[in-house]
């Protein structure tokens, strides 16, 4: 257990020193600052005003940025260390492979989740200071959604990182995974349905299997519980899960995907050549 936390600490300190972390933190901190600066809390869209409006916009932007950021930076983790020759030395020390791998995942999770969460928390604290009402239910659900999203893409990133033998291959594969998920978002699926006469159940099934779409739908459901903007597919989703059921599904499914990928990554790592 001790080596697990030592490895996590090592990864956190390495990440804090890395340039990607600085950019990553600036992006999310900057988004919140810009949303405040442009007076988004004063605008009204679909009846949302104040911090709710800001959180809705923030989560939409985060969903667009966080997955690709997490994938691209995480895939460098194992593949990059292996390629740079870090493993030859550090894994000659008496650290178990499980402590090393899971320690790296814990460390990386902290570094990718904290900036996103702190930016959101900062907006809440600022609102409290300004006397603006805080939608706590939305804040807590979005926090859980971001935590699940970060874990999901971290797990996928670690799996790609252990499978790829070089950073270039890992980054290329990560980008392809992200692009594939992007291509199967609801609007494109709709196009496919129209063009290819695919059964609606298949299209909805793909949407429910795509973590990006799951997050998008869950975030939409917070301010549009009837999922009107989704069109006919909303009926299937709401029929299948119900509004609350879907919110729970949107948390459990990505965590499951992330965990399965992380376990698969660990098993691959344990059985392969380390340096």
């Amino acid at each position: 257990m001790n080596t697990l936390f030592l490895t996590a600490k090592l990864d956190i300190v390495e990440s804090l020193r890395a340039r990607w972390f600085l950019i990553y933190s600036l992006v999310f901190g900057g988004i919140v600052a810009l949303l405040f600066a442009f007076g988004l809390t004063e605008s009204r869209v679909l009846g949302f005003i104040g911090l709710s409006r800001l959180l809705v916009t923030y989560i939409q932007l985060t969903m667009a940025i966080l997955p690709v950021f997490v994938l691209i930076t995480t895939v460098r983790s194992v593949a990059g260390d292996r390629e740079a020759g870090v493993f030859e030395y550090l894994l000659s020390l008496p650290v178990s492979l499980s402590a090393w791998f899971w320690g790296k995942i814990i460390g990386r999770y902290v570094t990718i989740f904290m900036p996103v969460f702190v930016a959101m928390l900062g907006s809440v604290i600022w609102s409290l200071i300004q006397g603006v009402e805080v939608p706590w239910g939305m804040f807590f659900y979005y926090t859980a959604l971001l935590a699940a999203m970060a874990w999901c893409f971290l797990g996928i990133g670690m799996l790609i990182s252990t499978l790829a033998r070089s950073t270039d291959v890992a980054q290329g594969a990560a980008f392809m995974v992200w692009l594939t998920m992007l291509l199967f978002l609801d609007l494109i699926l709709l196009g496919i349905m129209i063009q290819g006469h695919v059964a609606p159940e298949v299209a909805v099934g793909i949407a429910l299997a795509n973590p990006l779409q799951v997050f998008r739908t869950a975030a939409l459901a917070m301010f549009d519980p009837q999922l009107i903007v989704l069109g006919p597919s909303a009926y299937v989703i709401l029929d299948l899960f119900g509004a609350a059921g879907y919110q729970i599904y949107a948390l459990i499914y990505p965590v499951l995907i992330g965990s399965l990928c992380a376990v698969a990554g660990y098993l691959t790592f344990r059985r392969s050549d380390l340096p």
Binding site: L10, G85, F87, L90, S92, L93, P94, L97, L274, P275
Partner: protein, 290 residues
């Protein structure tokens, strides 16, 4: 103590190790030599449990792959190329000491003996150190704990003569209870450190021979050189060996560690045309270089 049984390793169907079998006992000091691609590094990585392979590798009957923490706790490793770690020196030392159940101060002490004051560079990223500083720190981490096996890949390559001498002294302190595997391209680099030579070629052991131990690791030699004429090139080289100019670049004097004799003579042989006299005499090993 260390046993390789029919160890084979393929990379993309190319055999890098081909049924290597070796038995290494406690206290043996092995020079693992061979040209590039001979299989030395692969063999070391199998020993460290870093590569999967056919056959069996054990240290005290335990597998370094499946019983990593127990086995690698006994093994100190100094790589040929320092890893490009960005972490601060202090963190690396603390991490290594914590996972090896050692005290960071032991590592500091060894580094100080090698001429590296760790306290001054605690906050500096490891990859920003000079080659010599990195090597000293990695040696200090390997020797700053209780180990039964030392695996070193060209360990003294980046060290100055004084640090090399101290390094040989540090190894001499562990002769009785430590097995050492020292990898090198050239036998003359490590010949005086070892009592057994294993040469590899094309993934196979092609030579396994004992070496007579005529010189102790801590031995020092008083050395006088007389040149036919002063020469800037040899003067520059002798200064790196910390030799003193006794007469207008003609007479030179210095101390050479026992294990470094062959290396020193190899260097001098490059200037044999300038050499009119050479004298080497063993002195009390307790004397330290100034």
């Amino acid at each position: 103590m260390i046993r390789f049984e029919n160890v084979s390793k393929l990379f993309k169907r190319n055999p890098v190790l081909d049924s290597v079998s070796l038995d290494i006992e406690l206290g043996e000091r092995i020079a693992l030599i061979g040209s590039n691609g001979a299989g030395k590094t692969t063999l070391i990585r199998c020993l460290l449990g870093e590569y999967t392979h056919d056959g069996k590798v054990t240290i005290d009957g335990q597998s370094p792959r499946s019983e990593r923490t127990s086995v690698l706790g006994k093994v100190g490793f100094v790589p040929q190329l320092p890893p490009p770690l960005k972490m601060p020196v202090g963190q690396l030392v603390n991490f290594a000491a914590a996972v090896c159940h050692s005290d960071p101060l032991r590592i500091h002490d060894i580094a100080t003996r090698l001429g590296l004051n760790v306290s001054d560079i605690l906050a500096r990223p490891f990859n920003r150190l000079s080659g010599g500083m990195k090597q000293k720190l990695l040696i200090a981490i390997a020797l700053g704990r209780d180990t039964q096996v030392l695996v070193m890949d060209e360990p003294a390559a980046n060290l100055d003569p004084e640090a090399r001498h101290i390094f040989f002294n540090l190894l001499a302190e562990r002769l009785e209870n430590t097995t050492m595997i020292i990898s090198s391209h050239r036998l003359d680099e490590v010949a005086s450190l070892v009592n057994r030579v294993v040469e590899m070629d094309m993934g196979k052991v092609v030579l396994d021979d004992r070496v007579a131990e005529e010189s102790k690791l801590a031995t020092l030699f008083n050395c006088h050189l007389t040149l036919a004429r002063a020469d800037a090139a040899i003067a520059k080289t002798l200064i790196t060996w910390q030799f003193a100019d006794r007469r207008d670049g003609i007479e030179w004097h210095g101390l050479v560690s026992g294990p470094d004799r062959l290396r020193f003579l190899g260097m001098v042989s490059r200037y044999v045309g300038l050499l009119s006299r050479i004298e080497m005499a063993e002195i009390d090993p307790s004397i330290t270089l100034q």
